[in-house]
């Protein structure tokens, strides 16, 4: 009844050989990348892999993800059936019947049931792509309704049909002692006349159909987006364990190369990431640049790396240069400079990626190449770079004016042993007239709670956040060293920051320089003070009306501070703030991160307008923020949208107001 192994074995061997060759061809290209340590802490990595790959935690966050969950687990279970099928085709004595009967029957039942489930899931997938395709499923070069996508779905469906049909035909011939364990196949067997003469031929045809599809799948797999079957699980194991995912340091010495200007300058993990992309489009759905019509699409960045590697790989392997530029004019396999500069480093793409691809650091690495090697960047950045280097603040204001805000109230200098916290005011809090009001408000709150704090005054320097995100690592490196030395010299251990960008830089980036500080955003510290009963807010009503809270990316998504600002607003006003449509981990950037604060926004809609429109849907009287950049972007956006009557307040200001009201 079964086909002769002499016929099947060579086909299987040929397919496997082709598979191995393809996998070798593609995967050996990954080794062209630069070294990177991603094998430390195996237990933590294993845990990440279990949660994200096998648990599909990110996948099931979107409603349709459940469908993928079903297909994924069915695939794993049916891998046993398919393994047996292939082995049995070669060695006919190898059969599941060799297992204890209960195990054999349990497996058969499982295969039957998951096959039906898979068929249903595949039907859904077809419908989704044909009838209710979400817009983010399409990118410039990969389309949701591509032949490839339908071919893969058809392959899976055919496998199920062949599997169930073959078993139904065998049962109808009465030759299956385990028929009782196969509820679906047995039911289907009822469709055939028992022992009909065509059944043997049908069984054989379906066996060959199953074999043909399986072998075709094996051959096709490494050449399709379905390669993620092989890469997604290891990619979750190899993912960065640092969250937030900041950028790696660079080594500056003569003869070194800086940043990534060609594909082999990425690390092997960056390249492996590009093989792991499933083209699900979730990153592009979350990206503020993509959403406002910029040429940046994080998914396309990853896709470009893959295409570029495959195109240039053979030449690179022979030590020649690739011909397809990594950065250049629009085209598949190339990233445009406009795309690279459009990133706000908000991290929404990385938050959305089900297989933990790290898109944002790749963009920053390409920026490094443009800034450090090519000296090519949007012209408005020249001033910023010069100002940072010469005067250690983005506006180029005289450093002596850094502590001018102090004229409004008595402030102590930070002295180790005498003052507990360093209040790192930051450039905005020191120089920006609106942000200075927040500084004063925060100082008032800290004093009211009896916190012992001081400032560095004129000695404070910019943290360098914008420089690092913009790829000017050389100058950032210098500023970071200076700051680290200053903090060590002054014996700083605990820091309060006003700005989430200072927060993340001092806390996460300076760790790379061996400086471990206890850094807290002001909302975290004050929330703690409130809990300890060190702040009396009273119940006086504030004139702030309905408050909506906008999560700053670097406070929320990057540093996980979501609850503190909400708790503070609730404590001050007696009411929890209203949420914007996209909030907490899914918050939408104000448009100022990643150094975009200092750049013009010529292409597409303005990010802050998009965010303000979202805020205005809730008809708030006050939009609450916790970041000076968000403050500027929201205030400007509200004015542009003719909603200047809506106030923007930092959480610290809300608290200061509550304190004032309580006193009155």
């Amino acid at each position: 009844m079964m086909p002769h192994p002499a016929l099947f074995t060579p086909l299987l061997v040929a397919s496997l050989a082709f598979f191995c060759w393809s996998v070798y061809r593609r995967f050996s290209l990954v080794l062209l990348g630069q070294p990177e340590q991603r094998l430390d802490q195996p237990l933590r990595r294993l845990q990440e892999m279990l949660v994200y790959a096998f648990g599909q935690l990110r996948v099931i966050r979107k409603p349709f993800g459940l469908n993928h969950f079903v297909i994924f687990w069915s695939f794993l279970i049916l891998a046993v059936a398919n393994g047996e099928f292939l082995l049995n085709g070669v060695f006919q004595s190898v059969r599941l019947e060799l297992l204890p009967q209960w195990a054999h029957h349990a497996l058969l039942t499982a295969f039957d049931l998951v096959s039906v489930l898979t068929l249903a899931a595949i039907a859904f997938s077809f419908c989704r792509r044909i009838f209710f395709k979400p817009p983010y499923l399409d990118s410039l070069y990969v389309k949701a309704r591509s032949p490839e996508a339908f071919l893969i779905l058809s392959f899976i469906a055919l496998l199920m049909v062949a599997y169930l049909g073959m078993h139904a035909a065998i049962i109808a011939q009465g030759g299956e002692p385990a028929a009782s364990a196969m509820p679906v196949s047995r039911m289907l067997a009822g469709l055939f006349a028992p022992n009909a003469p065509y059944l043997a031929a049908l069984t054989l045809s379906l066996w060959w159909l199953h074999a043909a599809v399986l072998l075709a799948f094996i051959c096709f797999l490494p050449h399709s987006k379905h390669m993620h079957i092989l890469t997604a699980i290891p990619n979750c194991y190899l993912a960065s364990l640092d969250w937030p995912n900041t950028q790696p340091r660079e080594h500056f010495a003569k003869g070194e190369l800086y940043g990534v200007g060609s594909v082999e300058r990425f690390t092997w993990k960056d390249l492996f990431d590009s093989y792991s992309c499933t083209e699900c489009g979730r990153c592009q759905d979350a990206c503020p640049a993509t959403n406002t019509g910029k040429p940046l699409n994080p998914r396309q960045i990853v896709h470009a790396i893959k295409v570029n590697l495959l195109e240039n790989g053979p030449a690179l392997r022979e030590g020649r240069k690739g011909t397809l530029p990594l950065i250049g004019p629009e085209g598949e396999g190339t990233n445009t400079e406009d795309a690279i500069w459009a990133c706000t480093t908000c991290g929404a793409c990385m938050q959305a990626c089900p297989v933990l691809i790290e898109q944002m650091p790749k963009i920053v690495k390409m920026r490094r190449h443009l800034v450090e090697t090519e000296s090519r960047f949007p012209e408005e950045l020249l001033n910023l770079f010069e100002n940072m280097e010469q005067r250690s603040n983005p506006w180029g204001i005289a450093p002596g004016e850094r502590s001018k805000w102090v004229s409004t109230m008595p402030v102590r200098p930070f002295v180790a042993g005498e003052t507990e916290y360093l209040l790192y005011v930051g450039c905005a809090g020191s120089f920006d007239s609106r942000a200075k009001q927040v500084t004063v408000a925060l100082a008032t709150v800290l004093n009211a709670a009896g916190v012992s704090w001081g400032i560095l005054g004129k000695d404070e320097k910019c943290c360098g956040d914008s420089l690092r995100r913009l790829g000017n690592e050389f100058v950032f490196d210098r500023m970071a060293r200076e700051n680290v030395e200053l903090f060590r010299e002054r014996g700083v251990a605990k820091v309060i920051t006003l700005c989430p960008h200072c927060l993340t830089t001092l806390k996460n980036d300076y760790r790379q320089y061996g400086l471990e500080l206890e850094v807290m955003h002001h909302t975290e510290l004050i929330a703690g003070l409130l809990q300890d009963g060190r702040l009396e807010l009273g119940n006086a009503e504030l004139a702030l009306g309905k408050i909506s809270y906008h999560d700053p990316c670097y406070l929320g998504r990057h540093n996980g501070v979501f609850d503190a600002p909400r708790a503070l607003i609730e404590a001050a006003t007696g009411q929890a703030p209203q949420e914007l449509g996209r909030h907490r981990e899914n918050s939408f950037c104000c448009g100022a991160g990643g150094g975009r604060m200092w750049m013009e926004e010529f292409i597409g809609d303005r990010v802050n307008h998009t965010r303000v429109d979202e805020a205005l849907l809730g008809a708030p009287d006050t939009v609450c923020v916790a970041c000076p950049y968000c403050m500027t972007m929201m205030e400007d956006g509200l004015k542009d949208r003719g909603a200047g009557q809506v106030r923007v307040r930092d959480v610290a200001e809300v608290l200061a107001e509550a304190l004032r009201a309580a006193k009155a």
Partner: protein, 270 residues
């Protein structure tokens, strides 16, 4: 052909304050920067290098620490950097300064023909705008000041055509080589040094020329050669302006008044 660009290290004047008691500049802790106009002069010299393949030498007269300014020029791509530093040069006014710079350029010209000398229109510490023209006079070069565009450099005819930025108008002028240009900020957008150029510049040789090289009469340079003496420095008291309205009650009216005043004084170009 050699292009010589003159640069100066200046105190960051946004950070300079005048001691109200002694009426002297408080220079303590004030960082030095490259005179901003000179960065445009360097850029223009480098553009000539890129376009014509000229060599570029940057020269600066100043104390030994002015070397940092020359290193910045090296990081941007100048081929040679010479620091003119000697105690005898110290305390110089614009006349004595231009003598030293001119002597250095003459010395360079003995090795290679100097076709163009470029200076910033003025330095932000002295603001005299005299050194560039002084060098041209001493070298007997044509001087084209306040250049905001180099229209054409014709090597076969040995002439240069530039646009000068004057108040409210532009002027296009032509001069034979060799020529000295002083330049304004509108001329170009300075380039940004790449990391590898910065690292190379850090190790590059900055030549030091003292008066044993220039061999100038010590009575004609430095403090001794400077007819200008600073008798007093003070910050002028700003005479109070006019206060119209209370500045709060009628913002539209105030804005209108402001616009009218500015139109009256021809401060708004319409």
């Amino acid at each position: 052909m050699l292009v010589v660009v003159c640069v100066k290290q200046v105190p960051d004047t946004t950070q300079v304050q005048i001691d109200p008691v002694t009426n002297t500049l408080i220079r303590e802790g004030v960082p030095f920067i490259v005179n901003p106009y000179d960065t445009h002069a360097v850029e223009e010299a480098l553009k000539l290098k890129d376009h014509f393949g000229f060599r570029v030498a940057a020269i600066s007269m100043g104390p030994p620490n002015a070397e940092a300014t020359l290193r910045k020029a090296l990081a941007l791509g100048v081929d040679r950097a010479i620091l003119l530093s000697d105690r005898a040069f110290g305390g110089a006014d614009t006349l004595a300064t231009s003598k030293v710079l001119a002597a250095a350029i003459e010395l360079l010209a003995q090795e290679e023909e100097v076709g163009v000398v470029i200076c910033g229109k003025q330095t932000i510490d002295g603001d005299t705008a005299q050194v560039g023209p002084g060098i041209a006079t001493r070298l007997d070069f044509c001087q084209l000041t306040l250049v905001d565009r180099v229209e054409e450099l014709d090597l076969s005819q040995r002439k240069i055509r530039v646009r000068r930025k004057l108040e409210g108008r532009h002027e296009e002028v032509e001069a034979p080589l060799p020529v000295l240009l002083t330049v304004v900020r509108e001329l170009n957008r300075p380039r940004y040094p790449s990391v590898s150029m910065r690292l190379d510049a850090a190790d590059a040789q900055v030549e030091l020329w003292d008066n044993s090289v220039l061999q100038l009469d010590v009575n004609s340079i430095g403090l001794k050669g400077s007819p200008t003496w600073v008798s007093r420095i003070f910050s002028p008291q700003r005479s109070l302006g006019e206060m119209l309205g209370d500045g709060v009650s009628d913002p539209e009216g105030a804005a209108q008044l402001l616009i009218d005043k500015m139109l009256e004084k021809d401060l708004l170009a319409l």
